[in-house]
Symmetry: D2
Subunit: 90 residues, 4 copies
């Protein structure tokens, strides 16, 4: 996964930010914070996960379907990708 | 937030599961795991966040817009909710 | 449905715009237009439907859960709304 | 767009079904039907559009990124696809 290696630090920052958001939601629930604030935090974390998805997917398509890939590998990745979309794009 | 208090343990379990998923994604990126597996894990965690959102929202609507709420409070919550949807339902 | 009556013309314009987009997609498929353009048109029409949903939902919440509504009516609408979200927010 | 040609009738059926749903929503608004029913119809039509998107996208990826495609063409399609996701996967 050359692209996730190249972008490794950037992607890890995104993941750690989402972990921080989850810690915030956990604390808010434990401390019985105002419920609407919890909803706003969950909404923000969903946005962050979707951005992470988009970024990994972008690299994945460029890296694993591009011209430098073997025919066999490409065929497998196309199958992977379309099966992923069956779930993700419901 | 009576409903998040009543469901507190159930909601906390969901949040902790998502934290576990984020730890898995972090580790997968650090160890340069197969990229498609990372995509599948991100897809699953998005589903888990959406379920969390739906569950908190469900309780929120029942609890904060219901008949037992003061008119003033309900008015404020309706404003909150419609403003949240402007972002969440884009 | 006081709010859809008040906003009737505005909502009808949105619906007719989406019908126009569907006609465009139908024609593009019939004429075997460039496939990527079809994808772009479908993507745009999904955005238009989501905006329509948000707008009707916004009015619905204000109108059918507000302070002027009877307790019985509000109870029913809260049930309706949370059941809708079970499908819409998957 | 070989795949949209092969699946032409199937895709056209989907598009026409969505047009029918839009006609239903238009009529419901004009006749000032129960607002919650309008929300359910909009929710259903969003589902139908997402299924259409998934189906066209599935064919698109198989057809336009596959092994039979020229390098130049594939490069262009990868760019198209990742730019589409910037909007569609927000």
């Amino acid at each position: 996964m050359a692209h996730t290696i190249a972008n490794k630090e950037k992607l890890l920052l995104r993941v750690r930010k989402i972990k921080g958001q989850m810690n915030g939601i956990e604390k808010a629930l434990e401390q019985e914070t105002d419920c609407f604030k919890v909803l706003q935090q969950i909404s923000a974390s969903r946005g962050a996960i979707q951005s992470l998805m988009r970024e990994v997917l972008d690299g994945h398509i460029k890296e694993h379907l591009g011209n430098h890939v073997s025919n066999e590998q490409r065929e497998k990745e196309i199958e992977n990708l379309t099966s992923l979309f069956k779930t993700y794009l419901k």
